[in-house]
């Protein structure tokens, strides 16, 4: 039997970049084929070609042995290809049914003569959704409003949406990035069920563990080329990492036991509101000591962002207090907090961390441009800034053609290195890092993790916030789990297990749901 999907010799050039270089990829019917690769390896380009968003410069695609061409996603959908994007394409106020039929509305036969004004046939659509949900055990309620659904359920709605359009092949783009470990496991069960009933799945991820948990075959891309295909039985984590990066990678950070010193940051009964004035941080208290890493684990959106913004002066505190060393910084400005010795690697490097239209060198002094030696009086001292930039580019291995290159044209990993370099170069007493490696490649993650541990060993207090459980577990000395704005529990990292943390992240403590 011919493969469900076969792409041969796919080549795609963008100005100055060869994004796909004669890539061969095949998906057998009824298998889960994992696709692994760093950012910029060409995974997304390949998937966008398979989904009809891009047209390949060379190469052919065949569906069950029949050569075909997609000029738009519409063609791909018609040929039975469905894609679940990393960022859901759902309209929150609408119901599940409305979201699913959006763009494919079926009309009530009695009113069809009215053309655009005909009534929607929601009932038969809902009925089909119920059937699909039942058939693949997706547990989707067609009448629920999407905004009321948890993230995992929204993802299942996306899957139903693809199935509703009669997809035989599903492309899942980093589907676990927004899930708790338990939710991810549930997703894997669903994926298994889908292939058992004859669907085929392309599963994109950068988490090696998940490759072993669910796939039948694993393909690795690097630098626009397909490096190789293997099976979970034959592969090891080290081997896959090496295939991705092209060199040996140390996956587990080597670190000594922490030697906690004085309390640097003390947070007591902190309350913070989000932009809509809903309290999203409730009564949070903790301490971070010099020379230790306190990890804050939790699924995204449980108040971590507001917590970090409050600690760094970007968001007003509505209750409780924050003390940094011996200063009360509850209502301090971002600059005061920086000047007391805080480094902050923000969650969103494009929104807060960098000015993308500025060159690398200006971004490297973004927080210190006004201080000697970078400024003399009112004037900026470009020579000193350039020296500093040269030094940091070398020290932090920032791959940039020059210090005058616009930061926006660097890769994500190098952009993040610019921020880390800037924040660690100062003599900081407290380092707050929020999602420091989101979306980065394995090589950059390794580098940034090492720097964070080095900062700890230099007696910096580190507050690490991350939704990646692996990151939290490999770096932290103590782990606090945040759920719905509260810290449910704080564990010693060496004693904490993945299961224990996963349950806390889902709000289950001591066997009871909070």
């Amino acid at each position: 039997m011919p493969p469900a999907l076969q792409a041969t010799g796919i080549t795609k050039r963008f100005p100055g970049v060869l994004a796909n270089d004669h890539v061969d990829f095949d998906l057998q019917s009824g298998e889960i084929h994992g696709l692994l690769g760093e950012n910029g390896a060409g995974k997304s380009t390949l998937m966008n070609i398979l989904y009809g968003l891009y047209q390949p410069d060379e190469g052919t695609i065949s569906i069950v042995g029949t050569p075909t061409r997609f000029s738009s996603p519409h063609d791909a959908i018609a040929q039975g290809i469905g894609m679940v994007h990393q960022h859901f394409m759902l309209v929150p106020p609408l119901t599940v049914t409305e979201n699913i039929i959006l763009g494919q509305e079926s009309l009530q036969p009695a009113t069809q003569f009215l053309g655009q004004l005909s009534a929607l046939d929601r009932r038969s659509a809902a009925q089909r959704i119920r059937e699909l949900s039942h058939q693949y055990r997706l547990d989707v309620d067609p009448d629920a409003h999407v905004k009321d659904l948890p993230v995992g359920a929204q993802q299942r709605v996306e899957i139903v949406k693809a199935l509703y359009r009669r997809a035989e092949i599903l492309i899942l783009d980093e589907p676990t990035a927004v899930l708790t470990p338990q939710e991810a496991d549930e997703l894997f069960v669903i994926m298994r069920e889908l292939v058992k009933q004859g669907k085929s799945i392309v599963f994109i991820t950068h988490k090696l563990r998940e490759m072993f948990a669910v796939t039948d075959r694993i393909s690795v891309m690097r630098g626009g080329k397909m490096v190789g295909t293997t099976t979970p039985k034959q592969a090891t984590s080290e081997m896959l990492a090496e295939m991705m990066v092209g060199r040996q990678v140390i996956l587990q950070i080597d670190k000594q036991a922490a030697q906690p010193g004085d309390v640097i940051l003390r947070v007591g009964n902190l309350q913070v509101q989000d932009d809509r004035h809903a309290t999203t941080v409730h009564d949070v208290s903790f301490e971070v000591r010099a020379g230790e890493i306190l990890g804050i684990a939790g699924v995204q959106g449980n108040g971590q962002r507001e917590l970090v913004e409050a600690l760094t002066g970007l968001r007003p505190v509505s209750g409780g207090h924050v003390a940094l060393l011996d200063h009360d910084t509850t209502h301090a400005t971002p600059r005061q907090i920086t000047e007391f010795g805080t480094g902050h690697v923000p969650e969103d490097r494009h929104k807060h961390g960098l000015v993308l239209t500025f060159p690398v060198r200006d971004n490297l002094v973004l927080c210190t441009y006004y201080e000697s030696p970078f400024a003399r009086g009112v004037e900026i001292d470009e020579a000193h800034i350039e020296n500093e930039a040269q030094k940091l580019v070398k020290e932090f291995d920032i791959r940039t053609p020059s210090t005058g290159t616009l930061v926006g044209s660097l890769s994500g990993g190098n952009q993040q290195k610019v921020i880390v370099a800037r924040e660690l170069d100062r003599p900081v007493k407290l380092l707050i890092v929020n999602q420091p490696t989101r979306g980065l490649d394995v090589g950059s993650i390794e580098f940034i993790h090492r720097r964070i541990v080095e900062a700890r060993d230099r007696h910096t207090a580190v507050l690490l916030v991350s939704a990646e459980l692996d990151e939290i577990m490999s770096l932290s000395d103590r782990i606090a789990v945040m759920y719905k704005g509260r810290i449910l529990d704080t564990l010693n990292a060496p004693d904490a297990t993945r299961e224990q943390l996963g349950l806390l992240m889902a709000g289950v403590k001591g066997g009871a749901h909070v």
Binding site: F14, P15, G16, V17, G40, G223, G246, T312, L314, T333, P334, R335, Q336, T338, H344, P346, K351, H352, G353, L354, V355, L356, T357, F358, D362, L366, C367, Y369, Y370, A375, V378, E379, I380, E382, R399, T400, P401, S402, T405, L406, G408, S409, L410, S411, G413, N414, D441, G443, S444
Partner: protein, 444 residues
């Protein structure tokens, strides 16, 4: 990341630099070209003959450069455009759309007239800087109010500055008709400013410099310029050397200039309105460039404009920055008004119906120049030439001079919509990383 990727980044960087340079230089030129082409088509359609197009553009060029005093008049018209364009550019760089420069121009004019009338008998060395300062302060205050409102309440500056414009127009009418009205004149206009507060016309310079105090003022100005140039060319020169050069320049200017201009001075046409404002305009462009790119304040303003979230993260006080930026922007507009009153208006006073239209033209100018101070000087020259040549164009070809506004509007359209130009000229779009920086943000 592999070496390959670094190489790729190097290539894209080279490409980006090239595209950026091309974008900075070629897009405005192409927009100008398309603007004139569009103007030609419209003249052709409305007049029905290609000859009219030729006659109109020949008249425009003739009027702008070649008729008697044509070139000086272009420079005269260019001067306020430079100041206003710089004011708008500073705002745009910091993410603010100061649409109220016209009003600030008026307030600057009023303040300058008041300062010029209120202190008769002051020597020019004090009075002239004083009136310019008064104009700058008036404009700064007028723009600072919307700045304060935005910083404090988030009121959008496009709305508030526009409303401030109307207040300014009516306030100017009030001041002209009542407190500062010249009772002896039949026309409704303000009192004439003291002769020492006037901006010197170029033909007046020999007689002005005959006064030693004026010569001293000019010498001080030359010394200051020398100081800046020496600091720029040799930043690490010893203090003694710098001091020596500066002192020597000042001394030579003081001793040699007055007799020199007395025997050798090209400008003796008493009807030529060209005045020293053009020199001030060039100085202002240099100062604004320095402010934007070489000072911590400029760094802050550009950061706030490029990414306000990152600016907040970096500890920059955004509210203060908005107010300061608006004040500087308004100060430049105020100086433009000052110069119009003190250097150009025949009565050296503010008449009723002192309508300029400079402010609104300047918005298109700042966009055309991509907020680059050097570009603004070049663009202001073009704008001045068009404004100045329009009369002869109308006379020679019968094409209404308002076609100029139409051409400027088309230029603005093409500048604001580079995609249209690229489509019309079949150019390739720049890479994604080189996304166009928004000129101003929305109504948030």
């Amino acid at each position: 990341m592999s070496n390959l990727a670094a190489e790729r980044a190097a290539r894209t960087d080279g490409r980006a630099t090239l595209l950026r340079t091309l974008d900075v230089l070629s897009m405005p030129a192409l927009a100008m070209f398309l603007g004139f082409l569009g103007g030609a088509i419209i003249i052709w359609i409305t007049s029905g003959s290609l000859e009219t197009v030729g006659a109109a553009y020949a008249g425009l060029i003739n009027g702008a450069f070649f008729k008697q005093r044509g070139f000086s008049e272009t420079l005269v018209a260019m001067t306020p455009y430079v100041f206003l364009g710089l004011g708008l550019a500073i705002g745009f760089k910091a993410g603010l759309f100061n649409i109220g420069v016209e009003g600030q121009f008026y307030i600057g004019a009023i303040s300058a007239v008041w300062a010029g009338v209120a202190f008769p008998g002051l020597p020019a060395i004090i009075h002239l800087p004083l009136v310019i300062l008064a104009g700058a302060l008036g404009g700064a205050l007028w723009a600072g109010i919307p700045g304060f409102l935005k910083a404090r309440t988030g009121a959008h500056e496009v709305i508030t500055t526009m409303m401030m414009n109307y207040i300014a127009f009516r306030l100017a009418e009030f001041v002209v008709s009542l407190p500062l009205r010249d009772p002896l004149s039949t026309a409704v206009q303000t009192l004439r400013v003291s002769p020492n507060a006037e901006l010197w016309s170029l033909w007046q310079i020999p007689e002005r410099l005959a006064d030693p105090l004026n010569a001293l003022g000019v010498a001080l100005f030359c010394a200051l310029c020398a100081f800046v140039i020496v600091r720029w060319l040799a930043p690490h020169a010893r203090r003694v050397v710098v001091g020596g050069i500066v002192f020597a320049t000042g001394a030579i200017a003081f001793i040699a200039l007055p007799p020199l201009v007395k025997v050798w001075w090209l400008f003796d046409d008493q009807y030529d309105r060209l005045h020293i404002g053009i020199i001030l305009a060039l100085v202002a462009a240099a100062v604004v460039w320095w402010l934007m790119y070489k000072t911590t304040l400029g760094f802050e303003m550009r950061t706030v404009g490029a990414n306000p979230n990152a600016a907040r993260y970096a500890g920059i006080n955004i509210s203060r920055n908005i107010i300061v930026t608006m004040a500087i922007s308004g100060a430049l507009a105020g100086i433009a008004g000052t110069i119009e009153v003190l250097g150009v208006s025949i009565c050296r006073c503010l008449p009723l119906f002192f309508s300029s239209g400079y402010g609104f033209d300047s918005i298109a100018l700042a966009l055309l120049a991509k907020n680059n101070p050097i570009g603004i000087v070049g663009g202001a020259f073009l704008w001045g030439a068009m404004r100045n040549g329009a009369d002869l164009m109308e006379l020679n070809s019968g094409v209404s001079k308002y076609i100029i506004s139409l051409i400027q509007g088309l230029v603005l359209l093409f500048v604001a919509a580079p995609a249209v130009v690229r489509y019309l000229l079949r150019m390739r779009a720049p890479s994604k990383t080189e996304a166009e920086a928004p000129l101003t943000r929305g109504w948030g």
